[in-house]
Subunit: 457 residues, 2 copies
């Protein structure tokens, strides 16, 4: 069986390797020069923290991949048409500028996502960057290494924007974040939880402004020199980093008759198969069901990409028994400016939008026993269903112990665990330099028992 | 209703406060001068790391407790007899050296545990310490503050022994651990996992010797001067810390006709009631059922003490509906010499003793994305049931990210989660400075799928 995998950043290589392991003849197509790219490491490469620079982002070269994974790799090849009914692709070689057809039995779409654009004048100017691939990282790093950059405007206060602002400070470059809501950490972390991060940023001179970019102004040389905002402000800068989210690259799929879901990403069944019977899809281009409520979500993170890639590849290759994707329990964490922030499950808004009669509670406690040196404030917020007392989501923010504690929420949320069970029945490790005798996760649950309607005894 | 709570270290005050909250008239008896003592903080007080010294171990004074919790406190009062059938206690005042009877409807035993003794000559000499209460901590700290102590022998390489050896190094005192098995971390952490801790200890000059103490030798003044071992060695020292475990203080219970379980601790039902209908028990003096296999275990840790105290107190006070204790999933962690070690669930030996057809697998991976600064080796070991692939227990050791990851194992073990589910379906946070894209917990599960019989697909 011949399988084409289209897209080589992360999910594509994972799918190609798994399909080859299952005995299929696999060709992996990627329009850029690299495959197997660790995009999440870009901020640390740009900051100069990772040895080997941008090269280090390439986990395997195409040659290494072919040799170790047993799949053929075609880099700098763009798939310009997918014709499932004819069992073929039209491929354009970006090296030879030539097109040809190739015949396959089955197709796996792993075309990923692209950075959202601002849609303002000047966005194409040298010095304006968005960050998806190795090439983007290399271009930004070269710019910072060679241009006299003193101030960078980061547009978007989500996790990536935050990481990039920190990367600038690590390079001793001033940074300002422009975010329409005037805050960082995105919607996964509720407003009352963000103060510690804002404080840590202020301490390092990074300011967040509630402004929207209306234009990017350039020098006579064409280089960026400032952003203009909806407040009429002109903010001088020598680089702009646009980090306002990503959107799935669905054009090829749509042209092949593959249906999209409500989120705008490709709709797949639990075998990662699309409505077109010879086409599977995985990674950042698809939507997946969320465990708590079954709603489809676009949750483009590397671990989910790997999981959906494995399921798509095994099923496309005909492995028996069929592999099923059981859904995602959203969970995410960031560490920047010495503060960790993490989220699992549903936010309060998501829970309510999903029809839950939900409330949120918040506690501030300590990462370790308070009187032990190194203990830091830890903020915990739970989203809880009224009546049942079921935990639907949680957020943690603090200088230590926030990120890994979010992992514990995942099996609790998946299993429908109640705050009473968490407060009264759950074992959590205790040791003065590690955690208080009653862990903040249980203290928050006890508060929810007292204050969420129907969650107590 | 009048309830007597006997024992005031940790579970006793928790039980007294809860019973008073339920409307009972409560008297709390404690033979020492303090109640509400944080015994787990002793090593950090002795090390001089906690402000306020040993006083800081007292969470509430008896007066503060009476005022805020609404229970009467009798410190320096020893309960010398418990006569449930007559509804009375015989109490000895250690202040007035007088005895009197007191009438109660119900009794809660929270007599805790005592340090095991070596049973060798010289054990009573000045300079030999074991560490259970505030008084023990104060005595050791005074000894170290006032005597010319250059070298301390710590007997026992369990978690407490390890913490005390580190406390000595923090005070620039040499320390040697004597452990009959020649290793630290106790049976919860398997032999192949202990190397990183031993290495970190060696780097700070702490050696572990596989020797047993046969006698403690003293100066003419009576002070300790050396320990003699079963290898015929004489190890000079100016203090000995005995940390070879604890045993439940059951004498009062036994004399009242309360039955003990197989572990030698008090047997209780899931309401924390003993065989004597007016007597409940909680804390370190009882045994509790282990979730994985239902076996009774003596698991004397503070969080379990608090949980069993609440159940005992609510039920003794007649709260409705009755409170049930659903069992313990053993979980424990330590941080010493810059290394964290943690354990959850069953060890391989425990699993086999319990009748499971179990195997263990081990992986070494990284606490963060490997190429990010600060990433440290992380060792994970899983105990897995053959055939089902069910996770029965896990151990983690590493310089960071070991302790809090053990918390995730608890709900997995409780729910009977398989290594296939962990490897393929579990969400765990990912971010380069926090965790690899495939978390070590999932990497270990994938290895178990491959190598434990029947655990794969």
């Amino acid at each position: 069986m011949r399988i084409a995998v289209i897209g080589g950043t992360a999910a594509g290589p994972a799918a190609a390797a798994e399909a080859a392991r299952q005995g299929a003849e696999v060709v992996l197509y990627e329009q850029n020069a690299h495959i197997s790219v660790g995009a999440c490491e870009i901020p640390y490469v740009v900051a100069g923290q990772i040895e080997g620079g941008v090269e280090a982002l390439e986990v395997l070269t195409p040659e290494e991949f072919e040799k170790s994974r047993g799949a053929t790799v075609r880099v700098q090849h763009r798939v310009v048409a997918l014709e499932p009914s004819k069992g073929r692709l039209v491929v354009e070689s970006l090296i030879h500028r030539s097109r040809h057809d190739e015949a396959f039995d089955r197709f796996i779409l792993a075309t990923g996502a692209r950075a959202r654009r601002l849609g303002v004048d000047g966005e194409a100017a040298p010095g304006v960057f968005s960050l998806r691939g190795l090439e983007d990282a290399a271009a930004l790093k070269t710019w910072l290494d060679t241009e006299p950059v003193r101030h960078v405007v980061v547009v978007g206060g989500g996790f990536v924007g935050l990481e990039m602002a920190e990367a600038m400070r690590d390079r001793a470059i001033r940074a300002t974040i422009l975010d329409t809501r005037g805050r960082v950490l995105g919607l996964d972390i509720a407003d009352p939880m963000i103060a510690p991060m804002h404080e840590a940023m202020r301490a390092r001179g990074v300011h967040v402004r509630a402004e929207q970019v209306t234009a990017i102004e350039t020098e006579a040389t064409g280089r960026v020199r400032a952003v203009r905002t909806n407040q009429g402000e002109l903010i001088g800068c020598q680089a702009v980093i646009v980090a306002i989210g990503i959107e799935p690259r669905t054009a090829l799929a749509e042209s092949a008759g593959v249906h999209l879901g409500e989120t705008g990403a490709i709709a797949v069944d639990d075998a990662m198969r699309t409505n077109v019977r010879t086409v599977w899809a995985c990674g950042d281009v698809i939507e997946v069901p969320r465990v708590v409520d079954g709603n489809a979500v676009h949750w483009p993170l590397a671990p989910i990409g790997r999981r959906t890639a494995r399921v798509a590849a095994r099923n496309a290759a005909g492995a028996r028994p069929a592999d099923r994707f059981t859904g995602v329990t959203p969970s995410v964490a960031v560490r920047a400016f010495g503060i960790e922030a993490a989220h699992a499950g549903l936010s309060l808004d998501e829970a309510r939008a999903s029809g839950f009669d939900a409330e949120a509670i918040m506690v501030q406690h300590w990462s370790r026993v308070k009187m032990v040196p190194g203990s830091k404030p830890l903020h915990v917020r739970y989203v809880v269903e009224q009546g049942s007392g079921r935990l639907l989501g949680g957020e943690l923010v603090g200088a230590e112990g926030a990120a890994l504690r979010a992992n514990v929420l995942v099996p609790w949320i998946r299993a429908g665990t109640t705050v009473r069970e968490i407060a009264e029945e759950m074992d959590l490790v205790y040791n003065p330099p590690i955690a208080p005798a009653t862990d903040p996760l249980r203290i928050a649950a006890a508060k929810a028992m007292r204050s969420v309607k129907g969650a107590g005894r």
